[in-house]
Symmetry: C2
Subunit: 328 residues, 2 copies
Amino acid sequence: MATIYDVARLAQVSPATVSRVFNGTSVSAEKVAAVRRAAEQLRFTPNRTARNLRTQSSEVIGLVIPDIENPYFTEMARGVEDVASGAGYSVVLCNSDSQPEKEATYLQIAVSEHMSGVIIAPASERTRLDGILDTGRPVVAVDRHTVYDIDGVVMANREAGASATEGLLEAGYRRIAYIGGPEGIDTAAERAAGWRAALAAGAPDIASDELLRFANFRVDGGRAAMEELLALPERPDAVVAGNNLIGVGAIQVLTEHGLTPPEVGVAVIGSLPFTTLSPTAVTVVRLPAREMGVSAARMLLERIGGDSRPSRTVVLPSEVLPASAVRS
Amino acid sequence: MATIYDVARLAQVSPATVSRVFNGTSVSAEKVAAVRRAAEQLRFTPNRTARNLRTQSSEVIGLVIPDIENPYFTEMARGVEDVASGAGYSVVLCNSDSQPEKEATYLQIAVSEHMSGVIIAPASERTRLDGILDTGRPVVAVDRHTVYDIDGVVMANREAGASATEGLLEAGYRRIAYIGGPEGIDTAAERAAGWRAALAAGAPDIASDELLRFANFRVDGGRAAMEELLALPERPDAVVAGNNLIGVGAIQVLTEHGLTPPEVGVAVIGSLPFTTLSPTAVTVVRLPAREMGVSAARMLLERIGGDSRPSRTVVLPSEVLPASAVRS
DNA sequence: TTGAAAGCGCTAACAG
DNA sequence: CTGTTAGCGCTTTCAA
């Protein structure tokens, strides 16, 4: 690999001038031309490592997500990537597997690799950000809240839970169960609160506690909880799934029991990207994952650019895609 | 951030000794202890950028895939990540969006960031690898072939296409269509060849040409092709989908037309991770995506470690998960 | 506008 | 086993 010294020699200028050409500072037109020609001839590409060492920075941002196999997060990653790469940044995607230790490792790497900033969907509220925050790097939290005073982008979770439930009530269901994510996670709690409130308003005679289930945010979690609900002495006639994968699991179990929606009503918070169901059978409360990534990336880039306003949290509204099918 | 000089001063040793402690070369036990204590006290973490500049390397491998939103590739990414992080490497995931230009940009970054190697699922056979190969970095191709003499991991595509078709033939279908990926991609061609051979053997009277459709490897591609097939004067009674997303699209369209499988037979090459269908309705020819990632990462790590044997290509067998439902 | 020179933090000869 | 020293390739004062 050619270095700026090689280019400098060939172009008959100093290394400093070559550097300036590649950084857009003032250099006379003729020298610019000479340097460009030499660089081309030698197929020179600036060595980023050296630059990063010198400038103590790099055009890389870290993106830490809890589950790379969840389309919700990959959709968000797309949003982040589109904004970042448009601004000349590359994105390092890290999969924390919902494990705080893995999360900590990646955060560590972000620091020692001099990444410019990090977007993280925290595995839990206990996620420690002190280390990276102490280095002065901006961090934006997505999807979930943290205890730190940093920028964030979250969904209107309570509203989403309520909308999903209301969609089902309007379709004529009453005994509406809820399968949410792990108890410790705020998004899960908020969505459940929305469900509870909507159910209390629309079907006050239904005792909600026995219809509430906590699961993990994956397909198997949805399956297990749905099986439990079906085993209840008095079955629910509908269910709200707290996220996309729980929804998939719940629908799978219903299908296996011959209760294909809308026979049992189903509302899902989040999209079903690869569903093979008729689009009219299930109420989907779409969560704008891509937009979340876009906003987060924009905020991070602003902070990297020196923005020092007080921290903000953006709340993104959900969008109800109602099932056209009504309870038969 | 503390440097090795700070640690050295506090521990009363030379910077070189500190470096040695962190790189596992021989240092007396007492000095090791002193260094560790000092490092802890100063919360020292080695600066990777500096190390990378010095060693002209980094414990980072690049993973370039054409579609981050396709579960097939994210599953593979998981396999890569598990192996890599177990060996102390981090993975930079890059989404080429099937665009050769984006691919080239990421390959460029891999070089200038001194990444140790790259695993790439090439967007097309025209993908240029000369640049990165010239730097001596190992590259492993996954999923698809390249024109270069490098290691590769691919699926037994022809076999998969044949198995899918045979599954349908055994279930009693005869007029079996095929929706494959873009014509230029070798995996698509191979799978189609398997289908054609199996159909010729099992239902020789069926003219296969009019039942063959090329699509893109996404849901919309599967949808469009399935619509076309249904519009045929003589409809197919079954269809083989060339990948997971095409399968989703095809099933969606069938469902919308009231032809839920197994009314029309469906076989999919690749998994349907988030299907809400009854598991018995569709023949799935599972492609071991995770294993592909695991093998590729292992091979890459071996090459990084200096392995210079002739290049190898691993072919992974598919696994047929037959539908238990038979044509009614 | 341009060049000389000093490092960024680390590792790897080379001596001792 | 340990310390000294010379860079890796780049950016950035500081002078000219």
